[in-house]
């Protein structure tokens, strides 16, 4: 690049003489403003716009070396920023937010702070109705409302031509060709049935939930699980109540105490006891379970049944007039009764923990227990009699003492061991009184308790010694 071109490019600045200081300062301040506005588009920046520069035609550069030289010269220029400044992505730079400049990190912290503070605001969208809730968390009897019953379709009866006129008192009217069951009646009957279930559960009764229609398995199992009851979701075996000795012969029973803990020592009873009957049957579909309800009627078992407009209400003891086709309606009815049973069981166990037992032992079991006690007593008597006949030469006083002890034992719960001990002591005190007969009769007592035998064996040995002594002396 020659001098001429430099003059063209830098204009007055390149050629003029050095300026005085004040002018230089003026120049520098001016320079700043111009660099801010000047466009450095293609490297050939012009710090000072000059008429010559504008008029100069674009120089056609032929060689790469020349081009490089031009670029070098431009870089050397103090007046303009020729090279492109490196900027990052826009979001990495601080931004003006309102009155303050924030770095991205600060902005993010601010965003988090606002989010944290406003998180609790606004509305929560919640699901009011969850269809599975009626199985997993059924309502309690006190939660029954007419709205709930209507939403659960309990009011929809059958086609008007299918009705049973005995249900006319439950029917509110006719709509869309079907009978509408009164919601109030349903609510009242459902509450009454819940009360029955609760009391039966409180009294420790056996409750059986029956729902044999398709889809009712889940409903009855859940309800019986809640109420601590039994369920049936398959066909009722006809005769399982009336002919239970045959049908349920292989089924075992349990003997529990007031806290529902199983008791030992009733194997004899369990082996011989008759199969149990339910104390309350809850039937969700009476139409299909007529046999069951009939058997319950024969055995005076109270029944609760969901009576649709086509069912006969006289089949069951406690009716619940409701739609028996809808699973939702059945889930509601069974769920409410299950909750009632749960409440009854809870109350029973609470009372039992306090010592109040709300139920009585069944007559069969108490008879069995009485019989057992009686058998033990007679056995003891027999033993006593045997020993009494073996031991000769008791004085009247000793006999009286024995008798009083025996009678006392019967009342004062003196254990057999104590009695035997006492007997053993008496026998040991009077060894010479025992005879050969006693020993022979001792061997015949095969069914005596082991402890008694052990005690008596000592007696027998002493008797044998005495006998030897007698033989030796005679």
């Amino acid at each position: 690049m020659n001098v001429q071109s430099a003059a063209v490019r830098h204009g007055r600045r390149a050629l003029s003489s050095p300026l005085p200081r004040a002018a230089l300062r003026q120049l520098s301040t001016d320079l700043k403003t111009t660099t801010a506005t000047a466009t450095t588009s293609n490297g050939q920046s012009q710090a000072w716009p000059s008429p010559q520069a504008a008029a100069a035609p674009p120089k056609i550069v032929s060689s790469a070396k020349k081009k490089q030289k031009i670029v070098e010269e431009v870089i050397m220029t103090l007046g303009a920023n020729s090279s492109q400044e490196h900027h990052g992505v826009a979001w990495t730079k601080p931004h003006q937010k309102g009155s303050q400049t924030l770095t991205p990190a600060q902005q993010y912290a601010e965003f988090l702070r606002i989010q944290r503070n406003t998180r609790s605001l606004g509305s929560d969208v919640e699901k009011r109705y969850v269809p599975t809730e009626i199985i997993s968390n059924p309502p309690r009897p006190e939660d029954i409302t007419l709205e709930l019953l209507m939403a659960s379709q309990t009011h929809m009866g059958h086609n008007t031509s299918l009705w049973n006129p005995a249900n006319s008192r439950y029917i509110y009217g006719v709509r869309q060709g079907i009978h509408i069951i009164s919601l109030e009646t349903t609510a009242a009957h459902l509450r009454r049935a819940a009360r029955v279930v609760e009391e039966v559960a409180y009294r420790g009764g056996i409750i059986l939930f029956v729902g044999t229609r398709k889809g009712q398995m889940e409903i009855v199992t859940k309800a019986s699980e809640l109420a601590g009851a039994y369920h049936l979701f398959t066909k009722w075996t006809p005769g399982a109540i009336t002919n239970r000795d045959v049908i349920l012969r292989m089924q075992g029973t349990r003997v529990v105490d007031h806290l529902d803990r199983e008791l030992d020592g009733f194997d004899m009873f369990k082996g011989t006891a008759r199969p149990l009957m339910p104390d309350l049957v809850v039937c969700l579909n009476p139409l299909e379970n007529y046999t069951l309800l009939y058997e319950c009627g024969l055995k005076n078992i109270p029944t609760i049944g969901v009576i649709d407009t086509n069912a006969d209400p006289s089949w069951v003891t406690y009716t619940i007039p409701a739609n028996d086709d809808s699973l939702r309606s059945m889930a509601l009815v069974a769920g409410v009764l299950g909750r009632a049973g749960e409440a009854g069981q809870k109350r029973r166990l609470q009372d039992a923990a306090r010592g109040e037992i709300s139920w009585e032992t069944s007559p069969e079991l108490s008879r069995h227990m009485r019989k057992e006690v009686q058998a033990a007593v007679t056995k003891r008597k027999e033993v006593m009699g045997q020993m009494q006949s073996n031991i000769q030469g008791f004085t009247d006083e000793e006999m009286k003492l024995l008798r009083s002890q025996y009678l006392g034992e019967q009342q004062q719960e003196v254990s057999e061991d104590d009695l035997v001990n006492m007997l053993g002591q008496t026998v040991a005190a009077e060894p010479e009184a025992s005879s050969e007969q006693a020993a022979s009769s001792e061997w015949t007592m095969g069914v005596m308790l082991g402890s008694i035998e052990a005690q008596l064996r000592g007696v027998q040995e002493s008797a044998a010694e005495i006998e030897k002594a007698v033989k030796g002396s005679s």
């Binding site: 299918l162 709509r175 869309q176 060709g177 079907i178 919601l183 739609n323 809808s326 939702r328």
Partner: protein
């Protein structure tokens, strides 16, 4: 003041959804006698008879539709259109009688997607009437206050109602008509005579007052009904017998009959002497509609709105709908197009749906494929874009859709929105300016090249001569 007191459960039941299911509408009559023989049990009826019911997915997957019993999942879950109509909640066979209601539900959805505003039936006969010619320019909505009312206001505007106490005589069969005469009309004779007497008394009073006013006398006393003699009344009746127009007006007002389409001569003779322009009933020709004239299929009042395109901005024409030619043109009958599940006449006028032989205008416009003959080669039939302008519901319940030719620009945009064409330029736009410079440059380049060649020739160092 509420009705009879009901139990809480009864009140609850009355507000329940099952109780609010409307009674089914009657089976639509067969519109065409010839087609009536081919009626199928599963065909889509002209109008829905039952309410369409749906259920949320969480309940539906359990078969819970809020009715008597759970529904079979096989038919209610294996569908993308879970709409049913309940024919019977419970039958003697212990099942719920239901069917899919997807046909009418989807038709409604498609119709509402067309965004058609319902209008009162357009009467092509009243060309001469100035008001009707003005209303031809735009369709009048069925929801306008001056027509959308049912109460009796007393006055000539009552004819524009869409619901009347009395029947529409033209639609009655002979038996119905005789029964109507015997049961409804005959018992009202005495009442009508009393009404006529009152009218006669009023007429006499008016004429007397007018005469007195003209002669500058005081008004004579008002003529009462009791002053009218029997002979006077008989004369009046005879006169009325001959004045059919007045008699018809009196009778139809008395019985609140739905207006009949009156012959043009009568209506002009009748209304010529009246100062007020009589608004004519839009339902005189075809009879009053059985329901609200909108039939609930659309609640739009107008279609005078602009659609906004996300890229191109507000559009002058609305987005057209793709129509299928379902029936070619037969004689004078226009071809039938199917739009959104509704069959409509092809738009009239000079367009691709109307072949006009010998016309200069139609030369450059081709006729659509399936118009003259049914197009059996195109998959799905010949299709074309049309614009639904308005619709009415005729007394038989059929939706009469009016179509308009679609704007070509709107068609292109519609095709682009479906991805069939590409007219939007996403790249940088280059404005083409045919400048002098570029031409000069090109000449200069060629000049340079020529100069180079000349130099080469002069120097003799051309590459062409390097090799040999």
């Amino acid at each position: 003041m509420s009705g009879r007191a009901v139990s809480p459960g009864g009140a609850l039941l009355r507000t329940s959804r099952m109780f609010s299911i409307p009674k089914p509408l009657p089976e639509p009559p067969s519109t065409n006698l010839h087609i009536g023989d081919h009626k199928s049990a599963t065909m889509t009826r002209p109008y829905p008879q039952h309410q369409s019911i749906t259920s949320p997915l969480a309940s539906r997957e359990k078969g819970d539709w809020g009715l008597k019993r759970p529904f079979p999942l096989k038919s209610t879950m294996a569908t993308s259109t879970p709409y049913i109509r309940i024919k019977q909640v419970d039958t003697v066979e212990n099942v719920t009688n239901f069917a899919s209601a997807a046909d009418h539900s989807l038709s409604l959805e498609k119709f509402q997607e067309l965004r058609v505003a319902m209008s009162v039936p357009f009467n092509p006969d009243k060309k001469s009437h100035s008001a009707s010619t003005r209303s031809e320019l735009w369709h009048k909505s069925v929801f306008e206050e001056d027509m959308d009312f049912t109460e009796f206001k007393g006055g000539r505007g009552d004819d524009r109602r869409w619901k009347f106490q009395g029947p529409w005589l033209a639609r009655m069969t002979e038996g119905e008509f005789v029964e109507y005469l015997n049961k409804k009309v005959r018992p009202k004779r005495a009442h009508f005579r009393a009404l006529l007497k009152q009218k006669l008394a009023d007429d006499i009073t008016t004429s007397q007052n007018k005469v007195a006013l003209d002669e500058g006398r005081e008004a004579p006393p008002k003529v009462e009904v009791r002053d009218i003699t029997e002979a006077q009344f008989t004369d009046y009746l005879r006169a009325l017998r001959n004045d059919r127009v007045t008699l018809y007006a009196l009778v139809s007002k008395f019985l609140d009959l739905a207006p009949l389409g009156q012959p043009v001569g009568i209506i002009h003779a009748f209304w010529a002497d009246r100062d007020s322009v009589a608004p004519d009933s839009p339902y005189g020709k075809s009879g009053p509609p059985p329901s609200h004239p909108s039939a609930g299929i659309s609640y739009l009042r107008t279609n005078a709105f602009m659609e906004n395109h996300p890229v191109y901005g507000p559009q002058g024409k609305r987005a057209p709908a793709l129509a299928r030619v379902v029936y070619p043109k037969t004689g004078p009958m226009p071809p039938k197009l199917g739009v959104g599940g509704f069959v409509a006449d092809a738009p009239s006028g000079d367009n691709e749906f109307n072949p006009r032989y010998g016309s200069r205008m139609s030369v450059n416009k081709g006729v659509l494929n399936g118009i003259t003959h049914l197009d059996t080669t195109t998959f799905g039939g010949a299709k074309a874009y049309v614009e639904a302008s308005t619709a009415t519901v005729d007394p038989s319940g059929k939706v009469v859709l009016r179509l308009r030719e679609a704007d070509p620009e709107a068609q292109v945009i519609a095709r682009e929105s479906r991805g069939l064409t590409e007219i939007y330029n996403d790249g940088p736009t280059k404005s083409y300016v045919p400048s002098e410079q570029s031409r000069q440059q090109s000449t200069r380049v060629s000049d340079e090249a020529r100069l180079n060649r000349v130099a080469d020739e002069v120097l003799g160092e051309s590459s062409r001569f390097d090799k040999p």
